[in-house]
């Protein structure tokens, strides 16, 4: 039962709040929470693998989120015609272009960041914290230098604007799209990690890197790939979060970093399934508490993390000795 408990937590939380609100409010908040959770999962999944595989604490992860968000603005700006077009195909093409640009730019930035800074601080958490926090500050300043300090508006593609009725609840179209994209990415990651040799090596490396090397695998090289993929996913998450917010500032990544770390800690460092569950819990808690007790909304995620760590000190799905 104790092993099953983390899996039951998500439906238990959803059911527990039902008596305190109307059916339609519950449905709308649940979809909103899951949508937020999916975007958080995109941003956090790379971070948890980076920590799990190489014990690297990367506080600059928020920089890739910010970069993804700003790339989305830059790509969608010239594509205003496609974004506001009645054609769903053009809408989706514009969105795809923005997400791809965000992924590529963040991935390339991740590759450079790993080669220039991270590689020099393996094995020292203090140096990692100092250098990655510094990296986040530098990234923020570069964003300001390139795009300016003022908030930038971002329009959603026409097909994803507005809302629809589902069992009497008003559901934002974009939120459903975010849920769908998040599920597709999760399914893809799950398949990659569980059905391929690379995934097998990553899972083993998260648990015991030294033994994986003793089996002949070059974990350092694998780590670079995971770091780049994690940065690209953060960029995609940033682009989607920017579309959701419709207004972005240079601090968008820094603000999300706190939530992303809460997600990673709740889930268990290095666990992708834990990261997914943690992201959903954080998204749901933010929406449920925001509705039921708005004054407590700000601290709800910290309270959630504290509660979970008191129950399971190594997170919901602990990996190896982490």
């Amino acid at each position: 039962m104790n092993r099953l408990a983390p899996y039951l937590l998500l439906p238990a939380v959803m059911l527990a709040v039902m008596p305190f609100m109307s059916h339609s409010s519950w449905l709308a908040l649940t979809v909103a929470g899951l949508a937020m959770g999916m975007m958080l999962f995109l941003m956090a999944s790379g971070l948890t693998l980076v920590f799990g595989l190489m014990d690297v604490l990367n506080f600059a992860h928020g920089g890739f989120i910010t970069l993804g968000a700003y790339l989305a603005v830059s790509v969608l700006g010239p594509l205003t015609g496609w974004v506001s077009s009645e054609s769903w195909a053009l809408n989706l093409l514009a969105l795809l272009a923005a997400v791809l640009a965000a992924a590529i730019a963040s991935g390339v930035a991740g590759l450079a960041f790993e080669a220039i800074l991270i590689r020099r601080v393996y094995g020292s958490h203090l140096q990692q914290i100092l250098i990655t926090v510094g990296g986040l500050i530098v990234a923020g300043e570069l964003i300001v230098a390139l795009w300016g300090p003022q908030p930038l508006p971002l329009a959603k593609p026409a097909i994803l604007r507005g809302s629809f009725l589902l069992f009497g609840a008003t559901i934002e179209t974009y939120r459903m799209a975010a849920v769908a994209v998040g599920l597709v990415v999760y399914a893809g990651m799950h398949a990659l990690l569980n059905r391929t040799r690379i995934g097998l090596v990553v899972r083993a490396g998260v648990e015991n890197r030294e033994m994986v090397e003793a089996l002949g695998y070059r974990v350092r090289r694998l780590f670079v790939g995971v770091f780049v993929a994690g940065s690209a996913l953060a960029g995609i998450g940033g682009a989607m979060w920017a579309e959701y917010q419709e207004l972005i500032t240079p601090s968008i990544g820094g603000e999300m970093t706190i939530l992303v770390f809460i997600v990673v800690i709740i889930g268990g460092l290095g666990s992708v399934s834990g990261c997914f569950t943690g992201a959903m819990l954080v998204g749901l808690a933010a929406n449920y508490v925001g509705f039921l007790a708005p004054k407590l909304a700000l601290g709800s995620n910290i309270a959630l993390m504290v509660a979970i760590l008191l129950w399971r000190p190594r997170g919901l799905f602990p990996v190896g000795g982490k």
Binding site: V201, R203, E207, M211, E213, A214, L215, V219, G320
Partner: protein, 241 residues
């Protein structure tokens, strides 16, 4: 030694500020089982970890098949055909038995004949093939660790204290398994505290004390000389029979 597959020549290894190996010299002949014996803290595990590149030797040479491997990174050493079973077994608890074995195979995956051989050696692993390795008993984990080391053909099998903490019945099973590997002329370097196992398996022996090799020779000679055993290892064979 003309038929040596592996040699240690004057190997010194430091771990942080501690000087653990003080010029270790010994050889592992090809096709034989070499026992590395010694009391706790003698430096046996450090010698194996130095061999695998997990702790880099500061001085001296480790050669494998005539090639100096002392400066190579761990994955390159493993790729030369050296399989390593650490004292902690290195089992991936979250992976299934199958996945643990699969990790040690080449890009083509399992070779059916090798898999059949391994599962014949340790049938219990076949019964638990799809189960998470974390749920195995200590003895079963050791069987899995050894199976993983032999699931592909390797030139050298390096095993660190495989009987540590195991029940006598499991130890007998492991001795039988190693005897089959020995009969197949597998080259094995085995660190062991269980003298009965050492006597049953070893062709040659090296004994360590305080980071140095203090005795080298035939295992049979050491097994026959209780005085030498007592002097080198602080035990007599009779006490272990």
């Amino acid at each position: 030694m003309p038929n040596a597959l592996l040699t240690f020549e004057g190997v010194h290894t430091h771990i942080g500020p501690y000087h653990i190996l003080h010029g270790v010299d010994f050889a592992v002949p090809e096709g034989e089982v070499t026992m590395l014996l010694g009391r706790n803290g003698a430096g046996k595990t450090t010698a194996l970890r130095s061999l695998m590149g997990l702790w880099k030797p500061n001085q001296g040479r480790i050669t494998f098949a005539g090639r100096d491997i002392s400066k190579l990174p761990t994955p390159e050493i493993a790729r030369l055909g050296i399989a390593y079973v650490p004292e902690t077994m290195g089992i991936f608890a979250a992976l299934t038995v199958r996945e643990n074995l699969l990790l040690a195979t080449g890009p083509a995956g399992f070779q059916q004949d090798r898999l059949d051989t391994v599962l014949a050696l340790f049938p219990v692993l076949g019964q638990k093939f799809a189960q998470a390795a974390g749920g195995l008993s200590g003895g079963q984990k050791q069987m899995l660790a050894i199976s993983r080391a032999i699931i592909e053909e390797r030139r050298l099998l390096v095993v660190d204290e495989p009987t540590k903490g195991l029940a006598p019945a499991v130890i007998l099973h492991l001795i039988e398994a190693f005897q089959k590997l020995k009969a197949a002329r597998t080259t094995i370097l085995l660190v062991e505290q269980n003298f009965e196992m050492a006597r049953a398996l070893g062709d040659t022996v090296a004994v360590m004390e305080d980071g140095r090799i203090v005795h080298r020779g035939d295992m049979a000679a050491l097994a026959a000389d209780t005085g030498l055993q007592e002097r080198l290892l602080g035990l007599s064979l009779a006490a272990h029979q």
